[in-house]
Structure formats: structure tokens, C-alpha cells
Symmetry: C2
């Protein structure tokens, strides 16, 4: 048993990831399949939208000049020659018309339609290219494609989009941390990998054997390998040793709680990260470290994927100086946050009871009560 | 061509949904399959966690009483009988020990391990039930199950969870609004339905024929039917008529922009909503109206699913009084918001250029520059 001679800072780990991991190559997918993926290049409109002038309002087509002076007290006949020209959204403007009046700008008197308001030229009519002109970038490189983007591309007759390939992230649990519950890390990390745009490839738990693990690490086909368990320095911890044997162990020990035994390296150019096996620590280590690599490989933004909110501390948040701290917090009904559990002892229940977390940087010893902090919220709409 | 005699308010439409639509029945799924679903009942821990006392820190097991007075100046022998008892996270505490010292609370002198700090009883040791006691509710009814919840349930040996069944939401486009781009509403709404916990069942576009649409509306197998297109009052709009023929048309015309032609009713007890066919209007109508029904059926929270943020208006937001308004806004670099496009003319490009939207209620005519408003953000981590 030995201690970590020196621990890397969380910032050093992020810099390691950013230096070694970037967006994978691209693939072409249908525009609606692209939703949630990241554009591998700018997508440019090849035509105008609308492609021709069109009606934008249900009502009656008119020539604006004919409506001048129309009012309740001075109703005018509706239509070019007295016959109302009913139009619907999307119609081509009838020849000779240049505006649309809404139904409530008209009235019916003895079966005759009358106009009781004036409209300006162009009202209720969309001109060719009003919405998008050919040549405009409609989806910029790196953008997470949204449903509305896909709809716009479809309307512009774009059939497929080039998006960054989804990374295959292999999860290798090296021992059954919680035998009774089966493998917890594999399916749990799979959920987070999927969230971050990866394809999870969870494998059955391995025995904690150096040679067998080293061999498994050398199998190809993954863009990132996450090992869970055996990350520490105890007598039964062999994961870092296996990584060193199979490739290179570059960082072991990170000054962060509750997952200081994280290790990073590579085998044949494939980045490998070893996370603690205890599920709460594995999940925290994923959020603090591994998720960044998954999101970068997928072409997304490296930062944490949670909605953030500023909130004032209801109680002090204590953190040891020199350590980056993943502090679970609860949002109280008065909108203030309070810490849950202690930073060092990671329990799953503290994670499930938390509404989010505060990342306390290493150069801070926490926060007193009554100051604003940035909370990363687990749920989307916790407004 | 006629106008809507009276338009329902958006609040009346929400009340209509809340009165007619509630969570479907439940089904049992594996704990990790439950992630993103909503618990149909409270899930109670049937055992303690940890199930027995266990080590929570890599280090050396000690009897706390033996460490009293240990310091750099007064090192003490390590272990019960001088032999260091190395322990790893998850181990059972060796008999006779009641605390763990970390490696950096020790030093090695001439091959002998010494203790240089005192520890309190229980330090580094988790007691049975410390985390969760049997009988505790670990996932409350209605909660959106998170990855950490599933991990906790797995550790507690809970194999499956009862969650609300996912609603089948049929999408019936009644005409091809944008012929050149193919059916846009079907796949676009499918993306939003999936996001809200539903199973999208998009059907091929139908011709705008009253009898055929009425017959299709009568087919069973859906928990909610969304018709897109033909929603208005124009000569070629027949969807509301078909709904009246097949079942009951209960609301037609809603005082909201940009989708005032929305209609609601039911066929054989299945709620039916008719949305405008133009994609930007269909998407806005989904967010303002239909999504609420999908989320309620799935057992989730009825409210809008976007992260919310308070932001100050950079320019005034104009909205007609008497109308609920879906105002697309952009977040500027200075953190202020400004409106994009006009409220009435809904374009897809305004939706794609927007970072989110402000819902201006009917009793407001908008907001001047310089006041705080609530923005619903399309992206998760727009912090």
C-alpha cells in the first residue's frame, strides 16, 4: 500500500483530454436522424425560402392601394373587382394583389363583403427569400442539431447532413464492486455515455487480473475505454498496472473528491480512463472527467451538460483546499442551496437526493452561507 | 371563409388538457431501462445500505483509541499489534478496528509504518444503514428516474421498477404542406414526442378529405392523436370538420400566436389535437399545447420542459393584448435577450436562430427594454 506521490489537478486532467481527444470523423445521416448530433461542417441553403412569394395569413388578397381610407365609417368593396379573393397560408398571391386583409378587417353586409381597414403593401405576404436567402449558413459547424433545424433543412430540400460520428465507448468493469446488485457501473455509465452522444459498449465484469485486463485493453474497436474498479493503490487494485502493461499510464491520482484514484493513459492511441468502482464515485468521476472526452469525441461542447443556475448558499459549503470538489447540493424551497452529505464520502443516496452539484475549485476552501454559487442542475426544467 | 367566432384562451386549453388527460397505467421495467421514465409509485428500500459495516477509505484500519496523541512529533506504531492492516474501500472492517487512517496520515521510517495523526472513532468507516435504512422511500412516485437512482436501486437489489407506460402519439399529416421537402411535420413532431416521453407513431400524409380523415381518426391504438394541417377556416381546411364527424370538436380557435387555428376534441375517448400544418406553426403549437398532453400521459410534469433563465430585455418585446404569444428570442453576449422576427409570422428560420422563447401572456402587451423576463432555453447548458 502506498499513497499517490503527486496528484494531477482537475485542470491538468482536462488539458490532457483536450490535447488528446477531438471530434471523430463525420458521417452523413438523414436530417431528422441528425437531431441531437453535432454538425461536422456548415450547412448552406442552396435555395431561397420561401422559394416564391406566398400568402402568410388566412384572409382576402387585395391591392393595398385600393384599401386606402377604408374604415368602419368608410367601408370599401373587397377584392379587385368587387369579388372577395379568399386566400390561405401558403397560396401564391393572386395576380395584381400585394397584401392580405384578415377576416376581422372585413364585415359582411347583406351578403356583400366589405373592407373596414386599410393595409400596407406586403402585409400578409411573404416574399421569395424573406426567410432564408440561398447561400446563408443555416446550421453552423459544431451546432447540436435541433428539431427545428432539421425541419428547416427538410423544407430547404436538404436530404442529409454531415455529422460527427458517435464515439464507441467501451466500459470494462474489472470487478463486481457490489456483488449482490450485479454490475452497476456498466449500465449506469452507459446511460451517461448515451446522454453525451456516445455509443456505450458495456462489457461483462472482468476478474481483477493484470494480464487478462491488459489483453482486453488491447482489443480494438473502441474510441474510448473506461475501466471501472481497481483504480486505487490497494493490494487488490491492478487496473493502472494493466494499463501501463498494455500501453501507457500517463496520470494516476487526481486532486478531486470523491474520485482521487482516477488514472488516464492510452493503449495503441486509444485513450483509456480508469474510474473508481464504487458506483457513486464512478458516476462523479464520469461527470468530472470522462464525460468531457465523450462529448469532445462526439463533436459537442466539452463543458458540463447541465443547465446552470446561480443560487445563494443557505449553509456553508466546506471543501479542502487543494482539491476540486464535486459537492452535491439540494435546492430548498426558498431557492437557496445547501450541501448534502460530505464531499469525501460519496454515497449514491447523496447523489439521488441532490438536485445538482457545485464544483468547488482546488484554490477554494468552499463558500460561507449567503454567497452566490453556480449550481449544475441534474433535471432540465428545475426553474 | 369565416373568422373564429370566439377563441379559447391558452389557459382554457391547458385546463381542457388537464381535465381530460392524465398519466397512463404502469408497467414494470428493469431499473436502468427506467431512466428517463416516471415512477408510477413510491419505491421503498427493502434493506439497509450498506448492508453491513464497510471501509470507506483506502488506508489502514486502526482502533481510534490507539491513535490518541499521534503527531509528527509523536509517531505511534500502526495497526493493532504493530503490523499495518491495509484496507480498501468496500472491505469489511477487520475485527477490533473502528477507524481508518489515510496513507498521508502515516510515514514509513526504516521499513516501519508509523502513524502521525489521531483519528476519531468511525472515521473512514461506513456503518450498516448509514446511507439508506430499510423502509426509506428512495424514488418517489412521479419522479423522473435518473441514472443515479437506477444505480442506487441496483445496489439495493431492486430488479425492476413500476413506471408509467409511454403514450403512443399518432401523427397524421393531412396534406403535404411543403411538397418539395416531403412530410416535415411528422418527423419533426416525432422528435419532440420522444423528448417528452412518448412513442411517436407518424403516419403517411393523408389527402385533405373529410370522410377519409374521419375514418382514420376512428382507428384505435393511440393514446393521443395529433393532426397537422387543414386546421384553419379556409375553403380547403377540413380537419376540424372531420374531427366533428368522427367524434367531438370541443375547441376550435385559440388566442395564441403563431398557431391560432388549433382545435381540440376527442374520438371514442382518445384526445385529438389539430395543429397548423406550416412546420414553424406546428412546432410552436406542439410546445404551447400538445407537449403538455404528452408529458401528462407519460406521467411527467405538465410544464414546459426547457431550462428557464431570467434575462433582461435588450429591446422591447411587442405582443398584441388578448393573445398568448410564443416570442422567439436570442441571448446576446451581454446576457440580455432580444426578440427575433415578429410574433405573428412564424418562420422556421426565426425558430432556428432563436436561443429560446418568452411566453407572453394574453393579459400583457409585451415588455419594454430593460426589464427581466423568463426565457425558456432550447439548449440544455446555455449557462
Amino acid at each position: 500500500m502506498r499513497g499517490f506521490a503527486a496528484r494531477a489537478s482537475l485542470e491538468q486532467v482536462w488539458a490532457w483530454i483536450d490535447a488528446r481527444v477531438s471530434a471523430l470523423g463525420d458521417e452523413s445521416v438523414g436530417v431528422f436522424e441528425a437531431v441531437g448530433r453535432f454538425a461536422a461542417g456548415d450547412v448552406v441553403a442552396e435555395r431561397d425560402l420561401p422559394p416564391a412569394d406566398r400568402i402568410a395569413l388566412d384572409g382576402f388578397a387585395v391591392r393595398a392601394a385600393d384599401t386606402v381610407g377604408a374604415s368602419d365609417y368608410n367601408p370599401l368593396p373587397l377584392g379587385l373587382s368587387g369579388a372577395p379573393l379568399a386566400v390561405s397560408v401558403g397560396d401564391a398571391p393572386p395576380p395584381g394583389t400585394d397584401a392580405v386583409v384578415a377576416v376581422d378587417q372585413t364585415r359582411s353586409v347583406g351578403g356583400m363583403m366589405e373592407l373596414v381597414a386599410a393595409v400596407a403593401e406586403g402585409e400578409g405576404v411573404e416574399r421569395r427569400g424573406d426567410d432564408i436567402e440561398a447561400g446563408t449558413i443555416v446550421v453552423a459547424k459544431g451546432r447540436g442539431v435541433r428539431v427545428a433545424d432539421a425541419a428547416l433543412l427538410a423544407v430547404l430540400c436538404v436530404g442529409s447532413v454531415s455529422v460527427t460520428r458517435r464515439p464507441v465507448v467501451r466500459v470494462l468493469p474489472v470487478r463486481d464492486e457490489v456483488a449482490a446488485g450485479g454490475d452497476v457501473d456498466g449500465p449506469a455509465l452507459a446511460g451517461l455515455i448515451t446522454r453525451d452522444g456516445g455509443i456505450a459498449d458495456p462489457r461483462p465484469a472482468l476478474a481483477d487480473d493484470v494480464a487478462a485486463l491488459a489483453e482486453t485493453l488491447g482489443e480494438g474497436g473502441a474510441d474510448l475505454i473506461l475501466v471501472t474498479g481497481g483504480s486505487g493503490l490497494g493490494a487488490t487494485d491492478h487496473s493502472a498496472e494493466a494499463l501501463a502493461l498494455a500501453g501507457a499510464l500517463e496520470i494516476h491520482g487526481v486532486a478531486m473528491r470523491p474520485a482521487d484514484s482516477v488514472a488516464l493513459g492510452q493503449v495503441g492511441g486509444t485513450p483509456v480512463m480508469i474510474l473508481p468502482g464504487a458506483p457513486a464515485r464512478a458516476l462523479a468521476a464520469y461527470e468530472m472527467v470522462a464525460g468531457r472526452a465523450v462529448r469532445r469525441l462526439a463533436g459537442g461542447s466539452a463543458g458540463l451538460p447541465f443547465p446552470r443556475r446561480e443560487a445563494v448558499t443557505a449553509r456553508k459549503i466546506v471543501s479542502p483546499g487543494g482539491w476540486s470538489d464535486f459537492c452535491r447540493v439540494r435546492l430548498r424551497e426558498d431557492g437557496r442551496v445547501e450541501p448534502i452529505g460530505s464531499g469525501g464520502l460519496a454515497s449514491l443516496s447523496s447523489l439521488t437526493r441532490a438536485d445538482g452539484f457545485v464544483l468547488v475549485p482546488a484554490d477554494s476552501e468552499g463558500y460561507p452561507a449567503g454567497v452566490p454559487v453556480t449550481v449544475h442542475l441534474f433535471d432540465l426544467a428545475a426553474g
